[in-house]
């Protein structure tokens, strides 16, 4: 069969760093092809080259066996290549219809009725339905993903690149997505899925290309491989799954009773969350993005007011206590959005190490801040996960994303934490980094702390936590006894199927 895409000898360097080295990549027309690898393996870079968002340092690109050179994404789009990035390119403030046509309007005047007719036609083909005049901010992650697919159809994309399409989807929605993708492929489209979730590859894809450290290590038919073999190829060595430590819970550290919290849009994002976490426990919080995780974490740390319910921390009621008091009492947060909430990019590592701990005694003496103590704290924070930096007084901006994440995670383990609230603590980290972070959280919990870890990756939670809570539509559920580690049962709780 003729390849839809053929890339040969692709090399891309950012400065001295080679993100891609001499990579060959070939995809057959009408197939669902997986591109897998660890974070930083070069998957997204390779796809951005294909999409015209990056120009390769060396190498050639053939589409339908004709050599192409893209100047920008607009070039690639006009040759029917489309890409859905992990965080979607849907603009919340625009309507669904405006998002659909943006950049591919066709004419100066926008005939709403005609556009809706074509949009409905394309959506119906995939079995989707949209309220085109509604604001896109109201879309659930799976609806947003569906809109992204209709956007590709609107642009007549025949080569579709999807970057981590299931990162924010529940297992049920993920399966539905792959059914849609297979339908598109059967109609002649070529689908490339960038993912790190091996089960999906094994279950749904035809071929798989594996990248490691910017190089291609293998290109296989999925039917000829296995999950274990893929895992080994991705990491480069055999993966041993650590058995989770047997929990030996102590006293209750945090007790939440019927917490009700309003979200950004003033609706009840949290509709009654009740749970208890004990000293020594690492508890996972599984759930599809946008089900109240964010608001729960903000309510726990004290940056969102609790409308009703009760929150008890180490025996004291803290329902209305301010965030700074909770931090001083030993709560720590690894925030969801490192850029926006975790660090101050223009500040030095020393000042960033202090952020959130600024009122805690070893760093302060009355109203005064102890500059010497702050420096030694920063040294400890940087050393814990071996953050690579070029000086503690250099700005945070000079660190790579992964190193910033290491720094933020290490900071939350400092100055005697009692409760560690970690929102995707390993975002952007490789397998080893992830293992280190969980090991240190585990270590802190052995010393009497408790941890609540939220992630959209159920497998990561099952692998690393003592037990897993599930959040769905603003309510927290606990799996039935005997099903605490049952992937299927938890997956169903995540979508409210039970």
């Amino acid at each position: 069969m003729t390849p839809a895409v053929r890339m040969t000898g692709i090399t891309h360097r950012f400065g001295a760093l080679a993100a891609l080295e001499d990579v060959d990549f070939e995809v057959a027309v009408g197939s669902v092809h997986a591109l897998v690898g660890e974070n930083g393996a070069g998957k997204t870079t390779l796809m951005r080259v294909l999409y015209g968002a990056l120009q390769p340092t060396e190498g050639a690109l053939f589409v339908d066996e004709i050599e192409r050179r893209w100047r920008n994404s607009a070039d690639a789009i006009s040759h029917h290549i489309g890409m859905v990035s992990q965080h979607y390119s849907i603009i919340h403030e625009l309507t669904c219809l405006q998002n659909l046509v943006l950049g591919a309007e066709g004419s100066f005047l926008l005939p709403a009725d005609e556009m809706k007719k074509r949009a409905d036609h394309l959506a119906a083909k995939m079995g989707f339905e949209f309220d085109w005049d509604a604001e896109a901010s109201g879309l659930s992650p799976s609806a947003a993903q569906k809109l992204e697919i209709v956007k590709l159809l609107w642009r007549d994309s025949r080569i579709m690149i999807l970057d981590e399409p299931t990162a924010m989807l529940s297992p049920v929605d993920s399966d539905a997505l792959y059914i849609s993708l297979k339908q598109l492929a059967s109609e002649g489209a070529t689908v490339i899925v960038v993912t790190h979730r091996i089960p999906e590859v094994v279950q749904h894809c035809e071929r798989v290309t594996i990248l490691r450290g910017g190089k291609k290590v293998a290109d296989l038919r999925v039917s000829e491989t296995s999950a274990e073999l893929l895992a080994e190829l991705i990491v480069g060595h055999a993966v041993t799954r650590p058995a989770p430590t047997a929990p030996n819970p102590g006293a209750a550290v945090i007790e939440a009773q019927d917490l009700v919290v309003r979200g950004a849009r003033k609706d009840h994002a949290l509709k009654g969350a009740t749970f208890t976490i004990h000293s020594g426990e690492v508890v996972g919080l599984a759930g599809v993005d946008g089900n109240g995780q964010r608001e729960l974490f903000h309510a726990l740390i004290g940056t969102l007011p609790i409308e009703s319910g009760r929150l008890v921390f180490a025996g004291d009621e803290i329902t209305t206590t301010r965030a700074c008091t909770r931090l001083m009492e030993g709560m720590r947060l690894i925030p969801e959005d490192r850029h926006e909430e975790g660090v101050i990019q223009d500040w030095s590592l020393v000042d960033n190490a202090t952020l959130g701990l600024q009122r805690i005694p070893p760093l302060t003496n009355g109203p005064w801040s102890d500059l010497v103590a702050r420096r030694s704290l920063a040294q400890r924070v940087a050393d814990r996960f071996k953050t690579k930096h070029s000086g503690l007084y250099k700005s945070m901006r000079s660190l790579s994303g992964g190193n910033q994440q290491r720094f933020v995670a290490a900071r939350a383990l400092e100055l005697d934490p009692k409760l560690i609230l970690a929102f995707q603590p390993t975002r952007g980290l490789d397998v080893d980094g992830t293992a280190q972070v969980y090991a240190e959280i585990r270590n802190a919990c052995r010393n009497g702390a408790a941890a609540l870890v939220a992630s959209f990756d159920l497998d990561e939670l099952l692998e690393n936590c003592d037990r897993t809570l599930v959040i769905n539509n603003g309510r927290v559920f606990e799996p039935l006894t005997g099903q605490e580690r049952d992937r299927q049962a938890i997956g169903q709780l995540m979508v409210g199927a039970k």
Partner: protein, 282 residues
């Protein structure tokens, strides 16, 4: 003429430049560029219209020169904020300082013409234009490709780029439009006075901006807010010297009225409105 009629006429006279300026601000801020520079754009346009109008004796050349000056100053703001990544407020304040200094410099250097009247078009032409512009911008934002691109870039420049748009280009174009409208506002102000004087825009660029904010960055509500400010300025003109509850309120204290209304309005209503999400972002 009755007092009420006089009040209504004054309201229209005083709000028309605000409407034009507010629409100029709207285009700019909808594309994500905070525009404190409106004041400077208006002042420069007024000054250039006066100088060129008097020198050529032609209303149309004066008008064209004024609009041209508005575009140039507005593009300076685009250059500073987009190409040099200068904070939008810093750039705006600097442009205002440049405009105040520059117009003073020019008028003093070319003082021989300063006594002559500026040739102008009748004011009703501008009032019609202000109304038409409000209508057109409302339509443009909702039903055209350019309007959609403006909204997209103003709300999320990064994602717009992913969709193949060029946010920088959209913003430069938006500031050309903004310059035309704010320039017209300046031309109207100098047409009313028929000669240029130092700092004659007197902070009306900022009032227009306040009206824009109160109107939630939407054209018709912004027009409403401008009329409201116009009404209060007209009231101020008419209330001077009147006694309220026996107290003789000095002339100058009445001048504070429109500003006071702005503050109260900002304190009262603003929480409900949403600014373009990408305002001030690179």
């Amino acid at each position: 003429m009755t007092e009420v009629e006089q009040l209504l006429i004054n309201t229209i006279v005083l709000s028309a430049p605000l409407v034009l300026a507010a629409l100029g601000g709207l285009i700019s801020e909808r594309s994500g560029v905070i525009n404190i520079a409106l004041e400077g754009v208006m002042l420069t346009a007024a000054c250039i219209t006066a100088i060129v109008g008097v020198a050529t004796g032609s209303a149309v050349i004066g008008l064209a020169a004024g609009i041209g000056a508005g575009i140039v100053i507005s593009l300076l703001h685009a250059l500073f904020t987009q190409a040099f990544s200068i904070d939008h407020i810093v750039s705006g304040m600097a442009i205002n300082a440049l405009a105040i200094g520059g117009t003073n410099f020019m008028t003093k250097a070319l003082s021989e013409h300063s006594q002559e009247r500026v040739p102008v078009y009748p004011n009703w032409a501008y009032y019609t234009l202000a109304l038409a512009a409000t209508f057109w911008i409302g339509f443009y934002l909702k039903h055209t490709r350019g309007g959609l691109h403006l909204l997209a870039v103003g709300n999320d420049p990064d994602k717009s780029r992913q969709m193949g748009l060029d946010p920088i280009k959209v913003r430069y174009l938006a500031l050309v439009g903004s310059g035309v409208l704010a320039g017209l506002a300046g031309v109207l102000i100098v047409s009313n006075a028929q000669s240029f004087s130092d700092q004659m825009t007197a902070g009306r660029g900022f009032i227009a901006l306040a009206a824009l904010i109160l109107g939630g960055w939407r054209p018709w509500p912004a027009l409403g807010a401008c009329l409201l400010f116009g009404l209060f300025s007209a009231l101020q003109l008419q209330m001077q010297g009147t006694r309220i509850m026996g107290a003789d309120i000095p002339y100058d204290a009445w001048k504070a009225l429109p500003y006071l209304v702005t503050i109260i309005a900002l304190a009262g209503f603003l929480g409900r409105n949403r600014a373009p999400a990408g305002l001030g972002k690179p």
